[in-house]
């Protein structure tokens, strides 16, 4: 869906008479796009090329890189259990995506019932989206505090003694998932709300005439109607989740016992703590390729469930 509408086939070949004037327009065109294209070359294209090279070297960012073939990749895939653990952790954390999407959709549907105070509710759910990750993670670290935190206090009110959350190997990742869902709800809710408002009312009316109840209308009109938005959210959320790490760094530092070490956090540590740039670059490429594969699979599968009008 990102690529739609790209080619609007305007005639580029001008008539002879107009050629002079058109050449001038070329010049304007090229000078207008020059800055972003130059930025693309300097900060995307060239670095990406260089990163491929670095991933085949040993490089500490101080001494010149030395070529070591596919050593980095071999070490990663065969000899580094922590890499695999962090990969599994990252996929585990991605459980938050369907949970968050379902919750965001539910909120959007509730808001779409011609609710009084829609602005208030919308603001409330959207609030974390505009807040700094640092402030929110500090806040949630305090919420998850085992002895004096808000969460265990609330659980205590219903006579449940809560776990140590971030300090418990089993509960640290679920804690991060809860925090992630809370922080990400608003953005997806806004997208879903717009999508719901875009489903033509005539479709609902037609379904009603056919005798469909609320549930059937939801299943056969709403879900297909908003499926392009669902795909958009799914793809962007997966890409973001696979690279999620700042909140992990602040809240758990990957612990306890590496139970919340995500792949990009591990990569970050290799690059900027151990200064192992080659190894970290290889990791970045494996992750990058993984992201591309998952995105392609998502697009491919989407043909079965996404309905464009």
């Amino acid at each position: 869906m990102i690529m739609t509408e790209v080619s609007e086939n305007r005639p580029v070949q001008p008539s002879r008479k107009a050629k002079r004037k058109f050449n001038k327009e070329y010049l304007w065109g090229y000078s207008f796009v020059a800055a972003p294209i130059l930025g693309f070359m300097l900060f995307a294209f060239i670095p990406i090329g260089y990163s491929v090279y670095v991933s085949f070297t040993k490089y500490d960012a101080f001494n010149p890189p030395t070529f070591n073939g596919a050593d980095n990749y071999a070490r990663l895939l065969l000899e580094d259990p922590l890499f695999w653990k962090s990969l599994v952790n990252t996929l585990y954390a991605a459980i938050g995506i369907p949970i968050g999407m379902a919750a965001a959709l539910a909120i959007a549907i509730a808001l779409n019932q011609r609710i009084v105070g829609i602005k208030f509710f919308r603001t409330v759910f959207f609030l974390p989206t505009i807040c700094s990750v640092v402030a929110l993670t500090l806040l949630w670290k305090w919420v998850f505090n085992a002895d004096y935190g808000l969460l265990n206090y609330l659980l205590g009110l219903i006579n449940v003694s809560g776990p140590a959350w971030l300090n418990d190997v089993r509960w640290a990742m679920p804690s991060m998932i809860i925090q992630g869902v809370w922080a990400g709800l608003g953005f997806h809710m806004i997208l879903y709300l717009a999508a719901l408002q875009g489903v033509p009312t005539t479709l609902y009316e037609a379904a009603e005439i056919d005798g469909a109840g609320s549930w059937k209308k939801f299943l056969y009109v709403t879900i297909p109607g908003i499926s392009p938005t669902t795909l958009f959210i799914l793809i962007t959320a997966v890409i973001a989740a696979l690279q999620d790490f700042v909140r992990f760094m602040i809240m758990t530092e990957g612990g306890p016992e590496y139970s919340t070490m995500t792949i990009v956090y591990y990569l970050f540590q290799n690059a900027f703590r151990y200064m192992d740039m080659g190894y970290a670059s290889a990791m970045a490429w494996i992750l990058g390729i993984l992201i591309m594969i998952i995105t392609l699979i998502n697009f491919w599968l989407s043909r079965r469930w996404v309905h464009y009008e």
């Binding site: 990102i2 690529m3 509408e5 790209v6 080619s7 005639p11 580029v12 070329y26 304007w28 065109g29 207008f32 020059a34 800055a35 972003p36 294209i37 930025g39 693309f40 300097l42 670095p47 990406i48 260089y50 670095v54 960012a61 909120i107 808001l111 019932q113 602005k119 509710f121 409330v124 759910f125 609030l127 505009i130 807040c131 700094s132 640092v134 402030a135 500090l138 806040l139 305090w142 505090n145 002895d147 004096y148 808000l150 809370w182 806004i190 997208l191 717009a194 875009g198 009603e208 938005t229 890409i239 696979l242 602040i250 990569l267 690059a271 740039m277 970290a280 970045a284 992750l287 990058g288």
Partner: protein, 277 residues
């Protein structure tokens, strides 16, 4: 027959939304409440939502002890110039991609779009090496310079917007003798204020809340951005939650104010990116 169902649906919608509101707001209320407590009082049971006494002094403490204000100034200096310049360069390019004709237009546009699909993690290390090579580590330049060139997402968004502006206006202006730059300044920019505002706000938020960039590039405390100063609280005020929460509240204030004044642009901006994107 549907009336009853509707009423029930609405009622459950309200119930659901109110539960959700509590879930969303309680952490914020608790943050604020904590920030107003004396240090020892955070361990009280049951939780006292309205502190006794209310201690505004935590705010005074963090503002005087920690360079939060200096961090805010640094952040603003870092993000504002690239935001405005980047908006202009993005808009110019977006206008060219939307309205001007030149060979290679589609190719360049698609090339630019691919940057949006490249995971940031792939470029993180090589750009660090690049900035290290040119000697820009521990300076604000790595955080400022790339933004001047505009961003692919912004170009994409504004291009979509410009395409909705009818060409008749442009044609009329051209007959009046305006060159493409004149058309851009006199016609396109004034007509696209809401889109520019939305992009400006997103740029501001992204820069203000950015933690990773400053973390990678800045070492000297006097060059710290607000987010770095705030993150340093964790080590500085170990487990002193009243002060950490006071700092967090202060760090949230600018974006929350911005949000309340510009809510319309947020919603429009997001839905336009999400739907037309």
């Amino acid at each position: 027959m549907n009336n009853k169902e509707n009423k029930l649906g609405k009622l459950s919608a309200y119930a659901f939304l109110i539960i959700g509101t509590v879930f969303m707001l309680l952490p914020f209320l608790w943050m604020f409440s904590t920030s107003l407590k004396l240090e020892g009082k955070v361990f009280e049971y049951p939780i006292r939502w309205i502190p006794e006494p209310i201690e505004w002094s935590n705010y005074v403490t963090v503002l005087t002890e920690a360079p939060l204000f200096g961090g805010l100034m640094n952040t603003l200096i870092i993000i504002l110039p690239p935001m405005f310049v980047g908006l202009l360069t993005s808009a110019l390019a977006a206008y060219a991609f939307a309205k001007l004709r030149f060979p290679g237009r589609e190719f360049l546009f698609v090339a630019l779009l691919t940057t949006m699909m490249i995971p940031g993690v792939v470029t993180m290390i090589p750009t660090f090496i690049l900035f290290k090579t040119v000697g820009w580590l521990d300076s604000w330049k790595p955080l400022m310079i790339p933004g001047l060139f505009g961003s692919a997402a912004c170009v994409f968004f504004l291009r979509q917007y410009f395409r909705t502006i009818p060409s008749e206006l442009e044609d009329a202006a051209k007959i009046d003798g305006l060159n493409p730059f004149g058309v851009f300044i006199r016609i396109m920019l004034p007509l696209s204020k809401p889109a520019l505002a939305a992009q400006g706000i997103f740029g501001f938020l992204g820069g203000y809340n950015d933690f990773l960039g400053p973390l990678i590039y800045i070492n000297s405390p006097e060059k710290f951005t607000l987010q770095l100063v705030l993150a340093s609280f964790q080590g500085y005020y170990v487990s002193n939650w009243t002060l950490i929460m006071a700092g967090s509240v202060l760090a949230l204030i600018p974006t929350v104010i911005l949000f309340f004044f510009a809510q319309r642009y947020f919603v429009e901006g997001i839905t336009m990116t999400g739907l037309k994107g």
